[in-house]
Symmetry: C2
Subunit: 221 residues, 2 copies
């Protein structure tokens, strides 16, 4: 069973390949989910697997997805089909002496479950706040809040963080013993998502300046 | 039919939601595939959808995937099951006056098809070179090449770039007409993947220095 510290290990969520990289720890899983901006959501429609990139938000032990009420994707998900929810943070390239041992450092989360339609207006607002916080912390205080017409036009689904796992690779390459003597550079190249220069909407009234959550924006630690 | 300029439009690859953002152009699709480092690969195993992050490489009109010969993932894919191959580049946050119109700028590719086991040693080497080029251009010239034992331990699959589409959002937010008068900052925050400082493998012989494809590493344009 899933509990307050660890997610459920089941047949489909058990890590078979390199299990030492795997974890069911909620804290690690929440950290990865909170740092990423996009999930890749997998589901089956007419025997065909689909993988669609989606924004999302987390509130406690559940994730929220949203989209237009007319979207085929949201219509399929809310039917209670099996979903695989995957998030990947790429932390760097692992540069080995042999091509065979090149790799990547990453943190990923794979969750299994079914999405459920959120019907209450209160929970919908909670979800919309979670999307906003995921994308830009404190933007909720600065922007115009959703009105009831916008709430109606938005389908919100909740997805439980209950079954699944994280997988993490860190550190330097592991080359074959005899390759360490080769005169080839090896190590890691860290990669991060960095913000560029803010671009003002050309239709913006001149005197408005962006607040510090935008000018000092950053992901990760 | 798929041709030299465009991918096939089929029932499963037709873009229904916001079709003006969609494209079947090979050139655009190749550019997106070449800039990304990780794909999210979806398939069905025992009626359950799985979405797994994977490195890949492109060579002409096909993609290559690889992994250990003992991996369940590779074993499932090589059985010729339907696969959905998705790649997403996050280009920035779209910051609107209303929370409802917040969005992201992105370029994504969704491909459909079946993977095929690559058996010839020559094509396997082509594929390994494509993985290397995808991750670090010209690393093939610097590192120790795969030997026949390593080739045997690696399962390589090819996947055709034939059916699917790209989807792209760019530019500033589109707010509701009456919201443009609000004193709320709006615009875009570009995001990019930037390399950090190279970390030497502690086991490296002292006099070796990294070559320019590592010291000047960058993704994208």
């Amino acid at each position: 069973m899933s509990d307050s510290h660890n997610l459920q290990v089941t047949k489909r969520s058990k890590i078979k390949r390199l299990p030492k990289r795997g974890s069911q720890e909620r804290e690690l899983i929440y950290n990865i989910l909170d740092e990423a901006l996009i999930a890749h959501v997998g589901f089956i429609s007419d025997t065909q697997p689909f993988v669609i990139p989606m924004a999302y938000g987390r509130e406690g032990d559940r994730l929220y997805l949203h989209g237009s009420s007319v979207s085929r994707l949201l219509k399929t998900l809310q039917q209670g089909v099996d979903v695989c929810f995957t998030v990947t943070l790429l932390d760097g390239l692992v540069i080995a002496r042999s091509l065979f041992h090149h790799s990547m450092n990453y943190r990923s989360v794979v969750l299994f479950g079914k999405a459920k339609l959120v019907e209450s207006e209160t929970e919908k607002m909670t979800a919309l706040r979670a999307f906003t916080e995921q994308m830009i912390p404190r933007r909720w205080e600065d922007a115009r809040l959703p009105n009831s017409q916008e709430l109606k036009a938005t389908t919100v689904l909740s997805f439980p963080i209950e079954e699944g796992s994280a997988k993490v690779r860190t550190g330097s390459p592991s080359d074959d013993a005899e390759d360490y003597a080769l005169p080839i550079w090896a190590g890691e190249l860290p990669l991060e998502i960095t913000p560029g220069v803010l671009i003002r909407d050309p239709k913006l009234t001149n005197e408005i300046t962006p607040s510090s959550n935008l000018t000092n924006y950053r992901r990760g630690k």
